[in-house]
Subunit: 261 residues, 2 copies
Amino acid sequence: MAFLLLSAACMFQSCKSAYPKTGRASLEKDFMYQYSIIDALMAGVFDGDLTIGQLKNKGDFGIGTFNRVDGELMMNAGLVYRTKFDGSVEEVSDEDSTSAAFIKFFSADTVIILNDKNLTYEKIQQYLSEKLNPNEIYALRIKGRFTTMTTRAEKPAKPPYTSLPEHLKTNQTVFDLKNSEGICNGFLLPPYLARTNVPGFHMHYLANDHKAGGHIFSFTTDSVTIEIDKAKGFTIENNTNAEFKKVNLKPDRGAELKKIE
Amino acid sequence: MAFLLLSAACMFQSCKSAYPKTGRASLEKDFMYQYSIIDALMAGVFDGDLTIGQLKNKGDFGIGTFNRVDGELMMNAGLVYRTKFDGSVEEVSDEDSTSAAFIKFFSADTVIILNDKNLTYEKIQQYLSEKLNPNEIYALRIKGRFTTMTTRAEKPAKPPYTSLPEHLKTNQTVFDLKNSEGICNGFLLPPYLARTNVPGFHMHYLANDHKAGGHIFSFTTDSVTIEIDKAKGFTIENNTNAEFKKVNLKPDRGAELKKIE
């Protein structure tokens, strides 16, 4: 692959957010924040007590889901969007709630432009895995025009809830988008975040026209801009929903998780 | 066992810290904070860049170790103590540094007094495991007079470092204390904190006369006061030492960890 790399120095000015990385307030903003843990969601804790309004105090960028796993959550530039199981996208009100969300105040440290006619999600993952440190936490935003983009979103569950893998078996819609322009938001996380989050890459899509989105399975493209924001650490706020206290979090659900990602 | 339980309501006033659990500032104080992760320490990342002075901004209570794993760290009421491999205890200056520490601003929600002539660390663990929720994060302080108290502390390592289990094999001193009065500080953590911390109980000891301490293996007692402080979540700040970036954090070190606890 022939990659064109632009250094952080020459692109940094154009992508700096409103939160400079100096001083005490910005140190706190440079931590990833998550509400609940992936293993609770996997085990069927589909409701949480954190409103979208409260979530917006913790970051302006990220991914997650909603109560009842009612679609895929994407946060970008401080706004929250839901991709529904029918493929439509809506902006979500502050009164809605989330059962799991992974977010950050996004401020790119590095910007990379890749041009190659045969780029895929897999090749970009391989490239970034070699370039970035395996033990660090990265927020990633990938902008581009995607020749193909395969995503999913799910129908909301009805109580009593089953596990997430069981729910997805019959309630997941897969979307095969063509020539879609948009952004992929998400994270590249280290192995020690197994059980609490998704080790490796986890990204959601939002088309620029807000007419498509969802959890990304794969894509192809010939040019992308990748913004990378390394976090100094992360904060997990435990789900206060009563179901969180009841669920069995002892089993390692890593193998199950890989199957649905 | 005949346990005498005093409810939280009747004991709460006597143990409240200076940080009430209401309002935004105290919400942040009700999170556990940790510097680095247990798997990095296990793998031999024995140096960190966080000073004890900086650590004190993140909590007033907790446990950990120092750079070069030079002894066992205990924080209580905002002061930091080191139990050295020779069994002595010293207060640690703000200029010293830690390679791993697990702390909190301690404010007990519940206080339990247990009286029984055959109490052991194991029995108390069993009792608390049944009483507390397995999915939550708890800071614990156990005060009492201990008929026996078995602890350890280790000699500082010299670079190039080996793994923690390897280092402990030949550099750990075990102390068998008799009739010691003091406090046990530490945490009861859920299974999803494997890799980042120690699931289950992890406590360090400090004698009231500051003449003994260390990482607790076992104890016997006939009366203890247990203060319990449930955290709303936790924050991990990644170790910025260069070795953290180099170490292999893919293996699950859970089995190795159990052997040295």
